[in-house]
């Protein structure tokens, strides 16, 4: 049987209530020995994971040491981004490596996209119930 965990959508604007709910996933990101508890937006419309600049710094990553440049599109195209591989832990699931486009944009959200969050986890959305279920990729 597949091990699944159910989460509820997060209300972003109390004035708009359920209309402003989004699927934010709580997870722990680790870089070397530094860990942070964060919430990432599950974005099936994004090709990549995106890490905002401040989060990378708080994890102890050094911008100048990341040598792979990541060409992002859309609003983030104006900012340079570099590849950064972190370890992500979701609840009781085994930690997985997630590669992020670490953007210099300080206002970018933490985005979990196809490369490679949705390759590491299966997600089922129940928007009408304001919930989603997540399970690790079957090995």
């Amino acid at each position: 049987m597949v091990d699944k965990i159910r989460f509820t959508f997060t209300e972003v604007d109390p004035n708009l209530g359920a209309l402003s709910t989004l699927p934010y996933l709580p997870l722990i990101l680790t870089y070397q020995n530094q860990s942070l508890s964060v919430s990432g937006l599950l974005d099936t419309g994004s090709s990549v994971n995106v890490l905002p600049y401040e989060l990378g710094l708080r994890l102890g990553a050094v911008w100048e040491r990341q040598r792979l440049s990541v060409p992002l599109g859309g609003n983030l195209a104006r900012f340079e981004a570099r590849a950064l591989v972190l370890t992500a832990t979701v609840e009781r699931f085994s930690p997985v490596d997630l590669a992020f486009a670490w953007t210099e944009d300080r206002n970018a959200p933490l985005i979990l996209g196809h490369m490679n969050f949705f390759l590491a986890f299966d997600v089922c959305f129940y928007r009408s119930e304001l919930a989603f279920e997540i399970s690790p990729k079957a090995v």
Binding site: S47, V48, L68, V70, L72, G73, G74, A99, M115, N116
Partner: protein, 74 residues
């Protein structure tokens, strides 16, 4: 309002307002001509490439993951 009455008023505008007025007039003329400014054409080209189709970026991340795997597991 005739232009002769408008000109003295325009002269009283600040430098920034004169620039904004100039921009407004150029935009209006381009709109009436059905033309798109060159800069906007470039912006549209970039805007059509969103995070949803950042496949080149995804390929760089795949490379970073592969390198990390080699570094960790040899």
């Amino acid at each position: 309002m005739p232009l002769t009455e408008l000109v003295p008023l325009l002269k009283e505008l600040s430098y920034a307002d004169k620039l904004l007025l100039l921009h407004f007039l150029i935009t209006e003329l381009l709109k009436e001509s059905g033309l798109t400014p060159l800069g906007v054409q470039d912006q549209n080209k970039v805007a059509s490439q969103g995070l949803y189709d950042s496949f080149e970026a995804a390929s760089v991340l795949a490379k970073a993951l592969a390198e990390e795997k080699v570094a960790t597991h040899g």
